[in-house]
C-alpha cells in the first residue's frame, strides 16, 4: 500500500480493525503499535466506535410503507405507456416542462457542437448521459414521482459542471477535510477538474439515465450480453472505472505492498525438519524484533496475534488491544508441546511438525489467509518476521474429538493465554475484556 503522509498509519489501523489488512501489513502495523501508544489507543477507539455505529438504533420503517410502494408501482405499471401518461398527468406543469424541454434541446444542440460526434450518444462518457432525463424524453423516463421543478432546473445546470461524477462525491468531503491524499488509487485525471463546492450531485441522474436507457430507450436490446451489462456498470459507477481497470490498478499497486524479502528466519521446510522443535525450545525466550515470528489466530469470537518477542494483540467486537507481555521463562526440561502457558510454548507448538503437517502447505495455498477457498470459522497462521505466511490452517470451531490434537492444543492454549495468562496485561491497558467474549465458567 501507498506510503501514508501521516506518521500514524490511520488507513492501516482502520483496515486492521476490520481484519482486512494483509499479513504483511498486519506485521508492519504490529511493529508500529509496539512503539506508538497513540495508535494503540486509536485502534481501540476505532473498533469501539465501529461497534457503537453498528449498534445504533434505527427507527423501524412505517408499517404501511411497503403497501404505499406497491400502490405507486401498480398505479404506474397498469398503463401501457406509463411513462408518458403519468408524466403528463403529473403535478409538473406542462408549460414549464415544455420550456425546459426547449431549453434542454437548445443546450444539447449547443453541446453537441462542443463535443465530438462519437461522444454524443448513450455510449458516451457520463457527461452526456443525463440527456435521457425526463425533460427531453418524457416518453421513456421517470414515469412516476417526477422530480420537482427546482430539481429539474438544477439538472440542466449540472450537465455543465459534471463531466465526471466520482469526484463530486469527493468534493463533499473536500469541503470539510481538505487533506489531499484521500481516495488512494482511485484518483483519475478527471478528479482534478471536479467542482470543489458543495456541488449538486449527478450520481442518481446518471444512474437513472443509464437505467432508463437500458430499460426502455434502447431500440433493440440484446438482453444479457456482456457488453450491455458492462456499459451499464460503467455508467452506473460513472467514473469509468471498470473492474478491469481496478484489477490493473491493483496489479500495479501490489508489488509495493510486499515488503522486501530478506527472510533470515527458518523456512517452513526447515522448520518441519525434526530438529527444529528442539532448537527453538532453547532459543525461544528472547527473540529480537527482527526475528520475531508471529502467530495469527482468527476465530468466531475474536482474533489475536502473538508475536514471538512479546507483543499480543486482541481484536474483538468493541475491543482492540495491543500489549507487550513479560518475556517467557525458558522452557523447563522435557517440555513438549503438551500444554501452552506462555508465548514460548505457543511458538513451540506452532512450529512443531504436527502443526506444520496439518492443513495446506504454503505452496498449495500461498494466500490462503487472504481468501480462504473453503469457508471456515477459524484459522491459524504462522508468519515469519516479515509477516509472510509460513503455514496456515483453516479449520472449524468448535473443535471436535476428531480434530487434530495439535489444533486442539493451540486453540485451547490461545484461549488460555488471552483469558488467563495475559488477561491482566490486556485489562490494565484497555479495560475489562468484553463479557460476551469471556468463556462461560
Amino acid at each position: 500500500m501507498k506510503q501514508e503522509t501521516n506518521p500514524h498509519p490511520h488507513e492501516l489501523l482502520s483496515a486492521f480493525s476490520d481484519q482486512v489488512a494483509s499479513p504483511q501489513e498486519a506485521a508492519r502495523l504490529q511493529e508500529h503499535l509496539r512503539d506508538c501508544a497513540e495508535c494503540r489507543q486509536l485502534l481501540h477507539d476505532l473498533t469501539a466506535l465501529a461497534m457503537a455505529i453498528g449498534e445504533e438504533a434505527v427507527p423501524a420503517p412505517p408499517p404501511q410503507l411497503a403497501e404505499r410502494i406497491r400502490q405507486k408501482i401498480e398505479a404506474g405499471s397498469s398503463r401501457t405507456t406509463p411513462s408518458a401518461a403519468s408524466f403528463w398527468r403529473s403535478p409538473f406543469p406542462p408549460a414549464l416542462a415544455a420550456t425546459l424541454l426547449m431549453a434542454t434541446t437548445l443546450f444539447l444542440i449547443w453541446r453537441r457542437e462542443q463535443v465530438a460526434p462519437d461522444q454524443a450518444g448513450f455510449q458516451a462518457p457520463p457527461a452526456s448521459v443525463p440527456v435521457a432525463k425526463s425533460e427531453t424524453a418524457p416518453g421513456v423516463a421517470e414515469p412516476l414521482a417526477p422530480p420537482s421543478p427546482a430539481a429539474e432546473k438544477s439538472d440542466i445546470a449540472r450537465n455543465e459542471v459534471q463531466d465526471r461524477e466520482l469526484k463530486s462525491q469527493g468534493s463533499i468531503s473536500d469541503t470539510t477535510q481538505p487533506s489531499a491524499d484521500e481516495e488512494g488509487s482511485a484518483k483519475t485525471a478527471a478528479d482534478a477538474a471536479a467542482p470543489r463546492a458543495f456541488a449538486p450531485a449527478p450520481t442518481s441522474d446518471k444512474q437513472d439515465a443509464s437505467l432508463n436507457a437500458h430499460g426502455t430507450a434502447e431500440p433493440s436490446p440484446a438482453p444479457g450480453t456482456e457488453s450491455q451489462s458492462r456499459d451499464y456498470l460503467d455508467v452506473i459507477t460513472a467514473s469509468g472505472l471498470t473492474g478491469e481497470d481496478y484489477k490493473k490498478a491493483m496489479a500495479k499497486k501490489a508489488p509495493a505492498e510486499v515488503p522486501k524479502a530478506k527472510d533470515n528466519r527458518p523456512s517452513a521446510s526447515a522448520l518441519s525438519d525434526g530438529a527444529s522443535a528442539g532448537a527453538l525450545k532453547e532459543s525461544a525466550p528472547v527473540v529480537s524484533a527482527e526475528e520475531a515470528r508471529s502467530l495469527a489466530y482468527e476465530g468466531p469470537g475474536f482474533s489475536a496475534t502473538f508475536s514471538e518477542d512479546g507483543l499480543v494483540t486482541l481484536i474483538a467486537r468493541g475491543y482492540a488491544c495491543s500489549v507487550t507481555v513479560p518475556p517467557s521463562q525458558a522452557a523447563p526440561d522435557g517440555a513438549r508441546a503438551r500444554s501452552i502457558d506462555d508465548l514460548a510454548s505457543l511458538f513451540r507448538t506452532a512450529s512443531s511438525r504436527e502443526f506444520l503437517a496439518t492443513g495446506s502447505t504454503p505452496e498449495d495455498a500461498p494466500t490462503a489467509m487472504a481468501a480462504p477457498a473453503v469457508p471456515a470459522t477459524s484459522s491459524l497462521e504462522l508468519r515469519n518476521a516479515q509477516g509472510d505466511p509460513i503455514h496456515s490452517v483453516p479449520f472449524n470451531e468448535p473443535l471436535s474429538q476428531e480434530s487434530p490434537q495439535v489444533l486442539r492444543t493451540l486453540s485451547q492454549g490461545i484461549h488460555s493465554l488471552i483469558f488467563q495468562r495475559y488477561r491482566k496485561e490486556l485489562e490494565s491497558r484497555c479495560g475489562p475484556l468484553p463479557a460476551t467474549l469471556l468463556p462461560t465458567p
Binding site: 500500500m1 488507513e11 482502520s14 483496515a15 486509536l42 481501540h44 476505532l46 466506535l49 465501529a50 461497534m51 457503537a52 455505529i53 449498534e55 445504533e56 438504533a57 434505527v58 427507527p59 423501524a60 420503517p61 410503507l65 411497503a66 410502494i69 406497491r70 408501482i73 405499471s77 412516476l144 414521482a145 430539481a151 466520482l166 463533499i172 468531503s173 469541503t175 477535510q177 484521500e182 481516495e183 488512494g184 488509487s185 482511485a186 458543495f198 449538486p200 442518481s204 444512474q207 437513472d208 437505467l211 437500458h214 430499460g215 426502455t216 451499464y232 452506473i236 459507477t237 460513472a238 467514473s239 490498478a249 491493483m250 499497486k253 468493541g318 475491543y319 484497555c430 463479557a435 460476551t436
Partner: protein, 201 residues
Amino acid sequence: MLKGMEPRPVEQPESEEDLIGRAREGDSRAFDRLVQTHLGAVWRVVWRILRHREDTEDVVQEVFITAFKALAGYRGECRLSTWLHRIAVTRSLNHLRSRGEVLRRASRPLEVATEMTLAVPDGIEGQTPLLALEAKELLQKLASCLEQLPAIWRAAVTLRDGEEMSYEEMADVLGVAVGTVRSRLARARVALRECVRGVSR
C-alpha cells in the same frame, strides 16, 4: 394449512431469481415480494445516511420505484441487494445535495439526539478515555458527529459498520475501487473519533 397474511420472503416456492424475472416482465406482485424482502435493509441504509424519518420514507419509495423501472437493466451482474443498495446510496446522497435540502437541514434541530437508544454491550464503559464517557453521552455525541460527517463518509461507515458489508461489496455499491473504500473508511472513522473526542473535551 394456515397460510400467513405476510408474504414469505423468497425461498419458498419462488427463488429471488424467479421473482426478479417476473417483476421484470411487469409483475408488480412479484416485485412486491422483493420489496418485502429488502425493505428493511434499504430503509436502514437510507436512514443512516439521511438521519431523518420523513426524508427516509420519501427516498426509500423512490429507490424501489426506480428499481422497478430499471429492473430490465439489471442482469444479475451483482446481487440484487447490492444493486438496490447502490440505488439507495445514490438517491440518498443526491437528496442531501439538493440545494433546498442543504438549507433545510442547516436550520433543523438534530432529530436523533433526543432518542438515542443504543444497546451498549457489557464492558464497554470505562475502557478508554473515549469510552469513559457515559454511554448515553457518547451515543448522543456520536449521533451529532455522524450528522456532521460528510455524507459520502457517512455512507461508507453506514455500509461497513451498520450493514457489515465487505469492502468489495462496498466498492460495488459506491462505484469506487476497494482502495478508495479503504481510505474513505479510515478518514471517516478518524474524523468521527476526533469529533467525538473533541465534543467530549
